[in-house]
Symmetry: C2
Subunit: 603 residues, 2 copies
Amino acid sequence: MNYLNINGTDEKYEFKVGNTLLNILHENNIGIEIPCGGKGTCGKCKIKIVTGEINDKTDEEVNHLTKCELEEGIRLACLVIPKGDLTVELLQKKDLKHSILTEGYMPDIKINPLISKKVYNITKPTLENNISYEDILKDISNNSLHINNPILLRKLPKAFEQDQITAVYSDEELIGIEYKDTSKSIFGLSIDIGTTTVVGSLVDLSTGKEIDVESEINPQKEYGLDVLSRIHFIKNNSDGLEILHNLIIKCINKLILKLCNKNDVCSENIHEVAVAANATMMHILLKVNPVSIGKSPYSPIFSSSKTISASSLGINISSFGVIYCLPGVSSYIGSDIVAGAVVSELSKTDKNILFIDIGTNGEIVLSKKGKLSSCSCAAGPALEGMNISCGMRAQDGAIEGVNIDESGIELKVIGNTDPIGICGSGIIEVISEIVRLNLMGKTGRLKKKDDLKKDEKLKEIAKFVVEENKKRKFLINSKPKEIYITQSDIRQVQLAKGAILSGFYALLELMEIDMNDLDEIIIAGQFGKHLSIDSLVGVGIVPEKLREKIRYIGNSSKTGALMCLISKEAREDMEKTSREINYFELSTKEGYERLFTSCLNFY
Amino acid sequence: MNYLNINGTDEKYEFKVGNTLLNILHENNIGIEIPCGGKGTCGKCKIKIVTGEINDKTDEEVNHLTKCELEEGIRLACLVIPKGDLTVELLQKKDLKHSILTEGYMPDIKINPLISKKVYNITKPTLENNISYEDILKDISNNSLHINNPILLRKLPKAFEQDQITAVYSDEELIGIEYKDTSKSIFGLSIDIGTTTVVGSLVDLSTGKEIDVESEINPQKEYGLDVLSRIHFIKNNSDGLEILHNLIIKCINKLILKLCNKNDVCSENIHEVAVAANATMMHILLKVNPVSIGKSPYSPIFSSSKTISASSLGINISSFGVIYCLPGVSSYIGSDIVAGAVVSELSKTDKNILFIDIGTNGEIVLSKKGKLSSCSCAAGPALEGMNISCGMRAQDGAIEGVNIDESGIELKVIGNTDPIGICGSGIIEVISEIVRLNLMGKTGRLKKKDDLKKDEKLKEIAKFVVEENKKRKFLINSKPKEIYITQSDIRQVQLAKGAILSGFYALLELMEIDMNDLDEIIIAGQFGKHLSIDSLVGVGIVPEKLREKIRYIGNSSKTGALMCLISKEAREDMEKTSREINYFELSTKEGYERLFTSCLNFY
């Protein structure tokens, strides 16, 4: 093992030779802005090598750095591959308030929000020209003679008591009127509704900057961990849809309240919410029965984008605010994935790129030089730490990293406290380590304690295998709390890995691409970003030979929604991409069952 | 006096020589259909002269009637002018259910409603082609990819359990989906919201036929008899607008319930409501504060047409139903008057036509060969029987007609019961009789009882003048209930007449038309139709020399709303006409006060 040290701190971060410095930094949650996504094209991820041996400077670095910078040892983190222990100095000045927000990749886009404001001086009617207030405001409504929204009409009487009013537009259409000059207060909210987590981020539409982000556990979780169980609940309870719909609306309103209070923003000044979500979550958000998603032929009720008044859904933003629901493709390729494809610029590339969003479902989009196809695999919630004996959410007390060797088990616990459970990334790491150390067979069965004891190298580790009632489990912590991985937990992860890997292979085959011709593997998802390359490869979700090609883009669902808020063009791109992605129903592929079975193997 | 007898009945109707037979029939509420409005151009108002002397046959009658018909004595009621007592036979077969509906004039229009329905067979998705339900229905939504209305989306899951569904369109736009074939059930509702009365009529949009009509007293009456007092109430009570708005919505829902129950129509099948009303009533309907209407410079908040979802106003029709509010012109020329102008085809004429809507306000539109100008006069509620000592609504027990001569007072009472009060038309008739008999002076002051007694002709009538506490009143009934007209009642009517007549003269002057060049005087309004030509001329609302030119068109506000329901073209006509009518603010006319004062005189 080698160690990375950040100059001026005592922290040391373990890493394996072969990864880029950028990946090592990101794996250790050390934020560093990468506007180009780590492709070596923007020159922003400058660091200074203090001590340690690295690769020679690349042509891109020579292009982006001055001679003077190069002499000082300044390099680009995305192009640096350490050869051993290393000490570096971080050069990006961090605005703490924004630190969590910049971790996801976002392409460079022009700030051009659909929502805009304009200030007008009020001209009062006279006895000689006593036309209606609406007619006087003809200019502000872009000469449309009819303000058909009663909420807007009702604001006119008081508007004429002002000297100035501010008109709010969605594209060219007048949607709101505010008294006085409020042109500086114009906000949007981008929301990613995951089956497990709901993330909301507040955006200043006047600058296009993200202000803050908040997340909540999706409260629908009480009614099922995955989309199918929620659909089941809706099918079997006449008020099921109502219950789940109300929960998500309440959750969104809670996020709005938190974000507004923290940042001193008035919710009346949030004019648009852009939502990305899988199809089931989107159906429930709009209170549209999603039952057809859960049964053959798996048709959604809708997959196109929607623009709906916030008030009709009970979402507490501006009284004339709108909700833009991003477009999806099918029942199992929702707008969250379309967002990811746009954020990754999959339809604009001339490369072969595989995009994987790892969540409760695993969705895969393959770009063959810009031609897009997709499939979806029911990974289940195991990868997110759900349905696991000692599973828990990634919060204080959760084991998020595990390192096993002869001397014992080393744990990385969130909040540096005593461990109380294990979260998704921890589970993947444990299993990755079990695989690495050969503690189980190809089929995923933990080896017997007695067999392990016979192996010179493993006999020390054998003590962690516990056998009770003919059931085997792997103990990773005993005091103060026993935390273990059971054989059944391993099965859950195995099924998830098998589902994703087989989807991956199936898509390559359908699109006739050889794995060696893949240029990039993009890992998306709020959760995906916590999975290290080692564990992704270790568990077998990504084949070893693609290790070097892995790139993380963070929560691209949220990023895509955010892009729709701040750029009309991005929104058009989203619409276009949703129509361009072909969807393959894996179950209709010949020989899929066989492929899936073979993908379950760990070796 | 002469009498008209309907052959085969004992009924005799008094009339004065000089009026057309059609006017005599209408004045006596004998329904007869006149598609052309009594202009002699449609040939529908055939009657047979049984006995009596009339004018010679006209050229129009020769055109419209066969030789055989003419030999049998068949003539057109609109062109017949009786010379003395007459017995006629009515030839139109009356559908009793429709009898009340056809009394208003409506131009011939093509039935082409904005709202339409189309039945579709449902194609189910397959595993090979599991596109969304919305996409399958692309055809029904006219290829628009987005059904943005959640209410519609929510209907799709169940729609796919059907074999057939019915799509509802407003023009080209899909607004609703109904299960099974419901193409035969498609209804509209036209509503005239008067300050005093609210009239609703149910229309079968598949045939364009009116099915039934109902009316209610406007419940806002409790808060003021005219628009200004309601505005005053709103201005002085923070919840005033809410109160009046809720009252009118409740009233409309009551009308809907009555019409649906009576005619076995489901309110879910009413897809559109077209509303005509004065500006204040329209503002309150949409809960838009009308206070600006009541104070200089008298600007309304809006006057253009509005299309608003019924559910957002709480109007109980189809859940995706829409409310179309007809366009108006100004604060005092509302959509009720625009409707009247369209019904009267004022902008299509090559004549000079004066249109008067007599209600709580008197609105006048003058067409100078198709060029339209208008003004409004605050007539007050007196002409409708409000604010009058013994005033009451036109219902059983109300005196609606009065005939005074030396032998005494003859009353016509609604329902043929003992009189309990006097309604608008009764008041006008009394005053018209008082004028005719010279019982008051030019300024409207009742003559002294003693002075009347001195007059040989009037001494018998003098007994009806009662003097109490120095106040004079005219007793028209003493037992079982005393009913009288006070000096103050006369003042109320005098102010109303003065307001209308001065508006009339002002408009002629502004448009530079000599009174002799007027071709037609159209009397509109639910109330106007109950005023006989004799009393209109008698009281002085219409100058004597125009007597022959008076034509009634009934409640043209309701008729105009109805036309909008059944004809897209009529709706466009309405929009166009609303933009063409010039509005003159009488108070800004030089010398208006003098004109008004001179118009108060009775002789």
